[in-house]
């Protein structure tokens, strides 16, 4: 595929030993450079009787490239590779998250307040007034990150244990970016009825449920049922997180090209969980014509989509003129292409027939629907899901702030208004004067995004009756009468 840049995610750390004579390190670094390795840290481990031992960390393009770098160094004269480690795996040793007490328990007094006998009165206060669980426990700031491991990243059905590192990563982002406590719950069943029941059963200690990496179409059913049956918000990030960030990027892209959202024609490739949620949300936001494209071709009322409610939605609600041609026909005069499918779905010919000042979001990971380098001459705005091109459309921009806002307002759910408000907040995080075709999405490390999204979500929740208009900041509890 394309020449990827060496990245830290594929880095290797080589512990090398060599004679400590001038020029020897130069030989090693030159050899690494020749094979395209990008050297990061070079640390001294020890110097002993003329032998130098160093740790050299090298970014590689992928796993094979890392192995190539190791073998290149290994055959150098006078150099021995003592060991090779992988920074990504080292970072994962023992996991990425832990639990800590907010208050130390060092004395009997601490213990008698936080645990028995003091805790008994707190428990009884919740027993008498169940809503007190929000103020007297960690529930109000804690989210369960739930998966069954059936659709993990682009890796597919790898099972619940293998999904754990992703869920821990998600939990880590929740905390680091939004201060939300979350704990991964990986379920060893992919039976939707069982998943629904188990999530319902574990819900009392959580203030929200983030569903993650559950394959379509189960994810739609599971989310819908849980929304109906739980009194805490349920949010399937693969659907709504993606939809929110795409809409945010779309708002800004449209401003850059000077088009109105209710006057554009959109083609979406990929009618899975993310594609459908995105289509529904941009429809709510004002887009009228959304033509869906999937394995069956263009989704229209003339093909049998029985039993596939998502694809049927595209045929009935999105394809309003009941267009029945091919992808190239659909792209004809389209203003926006949204790809949530696979690599190389698009060719330059598709881009050439689009309307003037076209917008292409090619978000398939890791290889987009069309290589940005080849698309650039034919489109006005291009965005991908990758961090090594401008305009990265990344869910990390949405979910931390969305949950922060939900929890702060004690919203009982997430509706379209809240999602649109989140999208608008993401778009607004790019200062207007900086807005241009290569900067339509804020950086994931822009801390103002979370705050903006959280405030927007909370406000929309209150405005639409999902959250109480005013939540008393003071906590009422069954203490002593004043």
């Amino acid at each position: 595929m394309t020449n990827r840049y060496p990245a830290v995610a594929y880095s290797v750390t080589l512990r090398v030993a060599y004679k400590n004579i001038p020029g020897h390190l130069g030989v090693i670094t030159t050899a690494i450079g020749m094979v395209g390795g990008d050297i990061g840290a070079i640390d001294i481990v020890s110097i002993n009787s003329g032998t130098m031992i160093r740790d050299i960390t090298v970014n590689a393009r992928d796993v094979d490239h890392g192995a190539e770098i190791v073998s290149t160094v290994g055959v150098l004269n006078g150099v021995s590779v003592r060991s090779v480690s992988d920074p990504t795996f080292l970072l994962h040793l023992g996991g990425k998250i832990n639990m800590v007490s907010k208050i130390p328990i060092r004395t009997r007094n601490d213990l008698s307040l936080a645990y028995t006998p003091g805790v008994a009165r707190v428990s009884m206060a919740i027993h008498e007034d169940p809503s007190a669980v929000w103020s007297l426990t960690s529930k109000s700031n804690t989210v369960a990150v739930v998966t069954d491991g059936t659709a993990v990243l682009g890796l597919g059905n790898i099972g619940p244990a293998a999904a754990l590192p992703v869920m821990e990563g998600k939990a880590l982002l929740f905390k680091e970016l939004a201060g939300v406590n979350s704990w991964p719950i990986c379920l060893n069943t992919s039976d939707p009825e069982k998943i629904i029941q188990i999530v319902k059963h574990i819900s009392p200690g959580f203030g929200g449920i983030n569903l993650e990496d559950i394959a379509a179409p189960n994810c739609f059913y599971i989310e819908e049922r849980l929304r109906e049956e739980l009194d805490i918000p349920v949010f399937h990030d693969d659907q709504h997180g993606t939809a929110i960030v795409v809409l945010g990027a779309l708002y800004n892209a449209l401003e850059v090209v000077g088009k109105k959202i209710d006057q554009i024609n959109v083609v979406i490739s990929g009618a899975g969980a993310a594609g459908l949620a995105t289509a529904k949300l941009i429809k709510q936001a004002g887009v009228s014509s959304i033509i869906g494209y999937d394995r069956e071709g263009i989704l229209h009322s003339g093909i049998d989509l029985a039993g596939h409610s998502g694809k049927t939605w595209f045929a009935e609600q999105g394809n309003i003129d009941n267009f029945r041609g091919d992808l190239k026909g659909a792209m004809n005069n389209a203003d926006v292409f949204i790809g949530l499918s696979g690599p190389n779905v698009l060719s330059i010919d598709h881009l050439k027939v689009m309307a003037k000042n076209s917008i292409v979001f090619a978000m398939a990971n890791p290889d987009p629907e069309i290589n940005p380098e080849s698309a650039v001459p034919y489109v006005k705005v291009i965005a991908t899901g990758r961090s090594d091109y401008p305009n990265q459309i990344n869910n990390v921009l949405a979910f931390p702030g969305v949950f922060r806002g939900i929890l702060d307002s004690r919203s009982k759910g997430v509706n379209d208004e809240m999602k649109m408000a989140a999208a608008w907040a993401i778009a607004s995080a790019v200062p207007r004067r900086h807005l241009n075709e290569e900067y339509i999405v804020p950086s994931v490390f822009d801390r103002s995004v979370v705050r903006g999204v959280a405030n927007a979500v909370a406000k929309a929740a209150r405005a639409t009756g999902m959250a109480p208009i005013k939540r008393s900041k003071t906590t009422e509890f069954a203490g002593l009468p004043a």
């Binding site: 990245a7 830290v8 995610a9 920074p87 990504t88 970072l91 994962h92 996991g95 990425k96 998250i97 832990n98 639990m99 800590v100 007490s101 907010k102 208050i103 130390p104 008698s112 307040l113 936080a114 645990y115 028995t116 006998p117 805790v119 008994a120 009165r121 428990s123 919740i126 007297l136 426990t137 109000s140 990243l153 890796l155 790898i158 099972g159 619940p160 244990a161 590192p165 821990e168 990563g169 939990a171 880590l172 982002l173 905390k175 680091e176 979350s182 990986c186 060893n188 069943t189 069982k194 029941q197 188990i198 059963h201 574990i202 200690g205 490390f445 203490g479 002593l480 009468p481 004043a482």
Partner: protein, 482 residues
């Protein structure tokens, strides 16, 4: 109940405003003292020429006592009670635990290792070798603290939400004393098969399951079924934690009183989870004459126990003379009383009727079967479950070290050898030279206890073939000593 000492667990903080005149504070503190309040902090909030505002923190004997003192202060001339707060509730606001990330995510490089794309390789490594999830995720140091809220402390069936503060307290103790990351999972179902199904399916991410405050006899069924299905230890603390700690206290009380175990007569009141497991373990330790009693009276072989298998077992295996009298009759001449029932179940008369050098473990929480102030003069050794009296028989002496040891060797289950090893480790933590009737059990804050228990449990697990690895390493118990 006026004999009880004022305790911080029933403390009140009264914000009082009074004229800035000599003698005013004296009249307030005198009034509190006359009512038996124990003043701890006297913080100045505000002071001007004509008035003073102070926060008076006063330990009370119980909730009513605190309220009485507030009422009394309100009536004092010149004193205005501005507000009353409750330190126990203040400490619980927003919960007692949080989740933290172990590595910061500040840059794209951090993100690309902890999350996409780097995390994908870690996922696949676990997919290829599921055992590596012990190394590459938080599983190896994480325990789920699971309750359905049906038997919380001595409070009974108060539901999963009301159980949360107790489970959070438990999680704190796990971390503080055992270095174990524990997360509370409170289940919104009482159906024992649904509980088994939920835990069985979410266990993937945990290295052990601590069952907590689940009522008998359901707890026996749930624990047994889960241990059959799972390859990680399932430990019902109310049974085994109580049994291990009580046995430790028993071994030392026997030493102090010089009684011969085989000649002792014991009465166990409360044959739920704790009573059942403790009785079994004490009998394993050599106790022969045990009579049990529940709400219906003494358990003997001519009573009908319906389908309660555990009580049937109890009646058949204890009470060698098939004694059928009253509790008073049973207590007459008894050497040992084990109370795992409810408040005030026995009176001074019961204690008076016991044998010389009687041992009384009144472990009901938060209010014991009899208060030490009442029983003290008639017994040789008195222990309770409370932190505000000597000899606290507290599960916290067991479970942190027990799980530390199990996680360190990646144990697959709990067995009797591990429990006995833990009991002996706890008992031996009290040096013989210091052993006396008021010191039969180590302090909960003696950091060496968890270390000794962990080592003993790990060793027993390895010896009995239930350990995945023979040398504990990853976390190292020594790190617990602060």
């Amino acid at each position: 109940m006026s004999v009880r000492y004022p305790a911080i667990a029933y403390g009140v903080t009264i914000r009082a405003e009074y004229p800035n005149q000599p003698g005013q504070l004296g009249s307030i503190t005198t009034a509190i003292g006359e009512m038996g309040g124990d003043i701890s902090a006297l913080d100045l909030v505000q002071s001007s020429q004509d008035k003073v505002i102070r926060d008076l923190t006063i330990n009370a004997s119980d909730v009513a006592h605190g309220q009485d003192m507030v009422a009394k202060l309100k009536k004092l001339p010149g004193v205005n009670v501005v507000s009353v707060s409750d330190p126990t509730f203040l400490l619980h606001l927003n919960g007692k635990i949080e989740m933290r990330s172990k590595s910061p995510v500040r840059t794209r490089n951090d993100l690309s290792m902890a999350y996409t794309p780097g995390v994908a390789r870690v996922c696949m490594a676990i997919h290829d070798d599921p055992e590596s999830s012990w190394n590459l995720t938080a599983k190896g140091n994480t325990v789920a603290v699971v309750s359905d809220g049906t038997a919380v402390l001595g409070l009974g069936d108060i539901g999963p939400a009301a159980a949360m503060p107790v489970m959070e307290g438990k999680a704190m103790l796990f971390k503080e004393l055992g270095g174990v990351d524990a997360w509370p999972i409170c289940l919104a179902t009482k159906d024992q098969d649904e509980i088994v199904e939920a835990i069985e399916n979410f266990a993937v991410g945990f290295g052990g399951i601590n069952l907590e405050d689940i009522s008998a006899p359901r707890c026996f069924y749930i624990e047994e079924r889960l241990q059959e299905k799972l390859d990680i230890p399932v430990f019902h603390d109310d049974q085994h934690g109580t049994a291990v700690t009580s046995t430790a206290a028993f071994l030392n009380a026997v030493k102090v009183t010089g009684k011969k175990i085989e000649n002792m007569k014991a009465v166990v009141v409360g044959v739920g989870a704790g009573g059942m497991a403790t009785t079994r373990m004490l009998m394993d330790a050599g106790l022969l004459d045990v009579v049990g009693a529940d709400r219906q009276g003494v358990l003997h072989r001519d009573r009908d126990y319906g389908d309660n298998e555990s009580k049937k077992w109890f009646a058949e295996n204890t009470n060698p003379d098939n004694f059928k009298g009253t509790l008073m009759d049973a207590m007459t001449g008894a050497d040992l009383f084990i109370g795992l029932s409810g408040p005030g179940v026995i009176t001074v008369d019961h204690v008076k009727a016991m044998n010389k050098d009687a041992i009384v473990f009144a472990m009901a929480n938060p209010d014991p079967e009899i208060y030490p102030e009442e029983a003290a003069e008639y017994v040789k050794v008195m222990a309770t479950g409370r932190s505000d009296y000597p000899n606290q028989v507290n599960n916290a002496l067991c479970f942190p070290g027990f799980f530390r040891g199990m996680l360190d060797v990646r144990a697959t289950r709990v067995n009797a050898e591990m429990k006995l090893a833990a009991a002996k480790a706890i008992a031996n933590s009290v040096p013989d030279s210091q052993l006396n009737e008021e010191y039969i059990i180590p302090n909960v804050f003696d950091r060496n206890v968890a270390v000794s228990v962990a080592k003993a449990v790990a060793e027993a697990a390895v010896k009995t073939g239930v350990a995945r690895r023979s040398t504990p390493k990853a976390y190292g118990v020594e790190s617990l000593i602060k």
